[in-house]
Symmetry: C2
Subunit: 255 residues, 2 copies
Amino acid sequence: MAAAEEDSLRSVSIAFSILDCFALTPELGPSAVAREVGIAKSTASRMLAVMASRGILERREGGRYRLGLRLFEYGQLALFRLNLFEISVPILADLRDRVRDLVQLGIPVGAEILFLDRFEAQNLDLRFHGEAWRRVPAHSSSSGRAVAAFNPAVARTVFEAGLIRRTRYTVVDPRRLSEILVQVRERGYASTDEELEEGISSVAAPVLVTDEQGVRAVAAVSVVGPSRRLRRGGTGTIGAHVQDAAHRIGIALSA
Amino acid sequence: MAAAEEDSLRSVSIAFSILDCFALTPELGPSAVAREVGIAKSTASRMLAVMASRGILERREGGRYRLGLRLFEYGQLALFRLNLFEISVPILADLRDRVRDLVQLGIPVGAEILFLDRFEAQNLDLRFHGEAWRRVPAHSSSSGRAVAAFNPAVARTVFEAGLIRRTRYTVVDPRRLSEILVQVRERGYASTDEELEEGISSVAAPVLVTDEQGVRAVAAVSVVGPSRRLRRGGTGTIGAHVQDAAHRIGIALSA
DNA sequence: CGCTGCGTTCGCCCCTGGCGAACGGTCGCG
DNA sequence: CGCGACCGTTCGCCAGGGGCGAACGCAGCG
């Protein structure tokens, strides 16, 4: 993972490499960072101090650091500036009209999926409205699988968090989940069948983006509905629609 | 706004100052950045290129740049690592039990408030469930006002976006909103009365954080309910509860 | 009690990173 | 049309900043 770095603007590259370290470990001190990035301990110490003074990192007891609030704010700003909502709203509304079920846009937050937006069809069961989750475990949701299959960092977090059982259908065996993720990569979309809640199924596709770091999923589009109806409609057809919507959002994001 | 910068680790400080530039303007080129930060145009050009190569920024047509997806991902990571949910869930659940109404946690995204989590009381009207907003205009929501009152950058965005009318009670006069924000700062909490939807009122308090940059709001806790019930309960009492919850989250965030 | 690890501090010396100038392109106005 | 103003990019230079290593003080542990 390390090495092969363009080292123009050395210190700037180092700074962001340091940020990347915190993707894997919540809290780090200068020594660990120095080891990880391949710089002198003293340099790491200085770097961390500067970044902490800007709120990018947060200094904790004992000279260790963690990601700071400023980063969280930058994220909100980026979310806004990338026009994620403006881009996705018409696409998701269109998808909802096609599948006539609940459509959601979710992003990974740790080992959970946080739903940012939701589009409800007219003919939905009322019981859905009552049980309106904001966050769900990634391993037992189609959105989570869609993202994890195309984002190693997320997958790692999911496996590390552990696969807790939600229903008797929930996949809790890591090996089994790995196989599922392989299938997801092959098919291009993910699904769950009563794994989060009995009687409820879902289909999701990853929103993929491409940049210098490669291709990875940053979000997912999902369709949720009663297992009976989703099965009747055929997850294949829905899968295609969901995939199309997610793909279009990905394209627009990078435009 | 500029100047008075600690200039140890010059280039790193510059890099993050550049990021700050994009808080105000969506898209910038080297010249503009150089002017803003006070560096040479060539330096800005190089910096932007490096940051773009890391996905922090995104290069657009014509050598201009905007915030990149990587920043969005860092934000998600920070959200996770700051334990915002773990911290807020018990506090919000407690608040819900006190006020026995809908409790929400929201963050600013541009001129809108995005609700991250929601806690519903048992005795809620069913109509609420149907109309479950994810995002609302900041100017006509109590959460938006709570954040804007304690975060100049957000306030700026809100005023620039324009105050669109939602109901006949919506405050659409910028001057009037300014006065309201002053009141919010004085009282410590914000409220709206049928401004987003007729018959619905809300009370919100800012989640404040303190660091080297000063004090500012990064989120808001709000209580929403039928205007009748909220008025009966007295917004003052609810305000105190909401303020307390928001305060506790803020404290825990910086712990 | 030593040993190992941590985080911090200091001084040095080299190299990188910031600067200014020059270049090519584009736009808009006279 | 052509000039000028502005843009983004590139180049070479030179100095001072920054990364390094060593030394320090401190915990934790065997």
